[in-house]
Symmetry: C2
DNA sequence: GTCTATAACCTGATAGAC
DNA sequence: GTCTATCAGGTTATAGAC
């Protein structure tokens, strides 16, 4: 908002003093911490430790822990919303449309694995207190609608679209959420977020979902 | 261990003073609390509040919060182990066997919805620090083996058994874990743990899984 | 076995100097 | 904008009476 011509000028290089940078760093560290521990378990001290500034800065920029949490959710959902808006779901045949949403969602989760964990914590501990409506609108309803359409057209089995949408989400995100646990199923040292592993999961999950509904 | 003949005699009815009863109550309350908040977020105070005894009893019987958590996990897994041992998986054709494990697992989760939440928290927060091995042996490996067999026999598609096992677990438990959030998809006041809703989920999930693998 | 009281510590949040 | 210091309240865990 300041129009001062000095705004863009790099300041002393000694100690970084940049509002946007600091704010961004806090958001990044907070996203990590909330993904690991949820709103309840997250520690502001731990967030600060992964930042190049002190704990006091969290309160300076975000007022309190809960507001910071909401800011993290907002940023994460902004990505989700813009991703889903790019898809022309209504104009695509159901089977293809379903693959589109699932793959779009999985691609995003692959690039931001924190999202699925945060969503899950939010659903489990906070009962969707903060993001309920937007989550339903961007995650479940699009899938539910496609399934309903697919049944009408005779492309999908006679399932309950709502239950199916929920189960599909589960099949998609579980891998990411539980990765630090299920990784023990694979050879020691296997990174479940490596490009190859992620690619395989996306393929497997999308195929699984499509096969599960197809008539 | 005490052989005293007075052991079974009911004591004064005034103030219940029964070791096993108290221990059981603490375990029950703890299971609820850990399912809601995870090891990290759980409050011993909250556990005590849902017991008819005080917080001090938790430490008297279980030493500390982490030991109590482990006791809860052990009890929950004992149920899982005994349930899976009752099934004759090796002697049953793959498709049927898979339906058997999935339904057995879902039935148990239906009756003890806490299990799925605890498993999930354990996987996410604690990275399976406490129950990793037994979880793999009782949850993932049986499914993985059936899938591998089903592919050999030509009953299932050519999938990766390991990835599929993980995705199947996700499709099964997500409904229970996220119930307080996804319930907003249904009419207000809908109880996702009601017998009808649970029955529908079990049917939908089992069908979905089978259809997703069948050739 | 169960309680009350409290110690010891942790964590969110703020004040005030720079 | 950033830091250090610190407070207030919450939380685990224990001591000791009954």
């Amino acid at each position: 908002m300041t129009n001062s011509p000095t705004t863009k000028k790099p300041r002393k290089e000694t100690s970084s003093r940049d509002a946007e940078l600091t704010k961004g760093r806090i958001l990044d560290a907070a996203e990590d911490e909330f993904a690991k521990a949820g709103l309840l378990g997250a520690r502001t001290e731990a967030i600060a430790a992964n930042t190049k500034v002190t704990k006091a800065m969290i309160y300076y920029y975000f007022e309190d822990k809960e507001k910071l949490y909401q800011a993290v959710l907002e940023r994460a959902f902004a990505r989700r919303v813009s991703a889903i808006q790019k898809l022309d779901l209504a104009g695509t045949p159901p089977a293809q449309a379903l693959r589109l949403v699932v793959e779009s969602f999985l691609d995003e989760v692959s690039q931001h694995p924190n999202l699925s964990a945060i969503l899950f914590y939010e659903a489990m501990q906070n009962k969707g207190r903060f993001y309920k409506d937007i989550a339903i609108a961007t995650l479940y309803e699009p899938i539910e609608n496609i399934i309903a359409r697919g049944i009408e057209v005779g492309a999908f089995r006679q399932v309950d679209p709502r239950h199916s949408a929920v189960n599909i989400m589960g099949a998609c995100v579980f891998y990411f959420c539980a990765r630090e646990n299920v990784k023990h199923l694979w050879e020691p040292g296997t990174d479940l977020l490596s490009p190859e592993m992620v690619k395989q999961h996306v393929t497997e999950a999308a195929d699984f979902v499509l096969a599960g509904l197809r008539k």
